[in-house]
Amino acid sequence: MESLQKTKSRIKAVKNIGQITKAMEVVAATKMRKSQQVALNSRPYAFKALQLLSVLGKFSPVKTDLIRGRKIKKTLLVIVTSDRGLAGSFNSQVLRLVDSFLKSYAETKDDNLSVVAVGKKAISYANKKKLNLVSEFSGFGDFVLPSETNPLSEILIEGYLNKGWDRVMTISTHFRSTLKQEVLMRQVLPVDLEKIQHTINEIIPEHGKFSELRDSRFTIHDSELEYIFEPSPKKLIEGLVEHLMKMQIYDLILEANASEHSARMVAMKTASDNAKELSEKLNLEYNKARQAGITKELIEITSAVSALT
């Protein structure tokens, strides 16, 4: 059995750690809610944009350079991870999917894969694997602004139009509910409008807070108005598709952010639970040691008394 003092200091240390993890848990929970709220705020915009697109679609074919696909020779992969650790298996899950993608990619084609890394963990991963890193982003705050993700979307669009790559895939975490996130691989470019609509509906989590909004899903109304279009329906569609694609990237990052926080929250909850359990165990040990000490002393006293008499 360890000495009393040692056990005491261990109890103290464990309690301290428990306090820290508890605090981190609470912070992560608050941030997660906020990220979800921010993501939800982008819905009216997305709905309106899709509605405009459906109106325009009647006057001009919805076929822009961003929608039209071509033969895929070069692929750009966007890896979205967090900047900070201590989020359980959040980053390793993303990187595991990247691993398996890279493996299957290496089997089929040669090495014309480019990578954009978002988050410090993805950057260090790409450097370690010596991937062809086109660009890297980190420091997207906890509540990303559209102006922060725009440089990322612009790189993706520009490279696509200049034939730097023929498709853009993203690997990021999809926030299904507080306790459930899954890593998904999605295609962002060429743009698939149905998928964007799907993404917009997916902003709402399946369970928990905000899930009641699920019923108010987006449907396109038919309108028979005679609009004037300036400059032209075709130009407008091009602009709208670009905006929608930027919105999709923005939502993707927000969703990864909410997932990061919820993963951290769960990890920290486990840590605090463990700390609590451990401190209870140590307390028992401490009391036992104390009791043993007292018993020993009593025996010594009584044996000394009986020797004297």
């Binding site: 009216p44 915009y45 325009l56 602004l145 609009y227 400059p231 130009k235 602009g239």
Partner: protein
């Protein structure tokens, strides 16, 4: 007319206004009551909203769209 300004961060303005001045890619326009349906692309610039009481509100726009629909309703999608 009723105007809503919608951005990615939520609905920034909603209310009755008497006029709206905007820069579009094909020139500056002022929208008054009962404008006919229009969809146009906005250019970088400042939107000036004059509320029903005559109060002026300015709004920075980087890019976006303006839709004027039926029932005297205008929507600005802005970034």
């Amino acid at each position: 007319m009723k105007l809503s300004i919608i951005t990615l961060q939520g609905i920034k303005f909603e209310g009755e206004i008497s006029s709206l001045n905007l820069k579009t890619t094909s020139g500056e326009i002022t929208v008054l009551d009962n404008h006919r349906p229009l969809i146009t692309q906005l250019a970088k610039g400042e939107a000036v909203i004059i509320k029903e009481g005559g109060e002026k509100v300015n709004f920075d726009i980087k890019s976006g769209f303006l839709e004027i629909g039926e029932n005297n309703q205008a929507t600005v999608l802005a970034n």
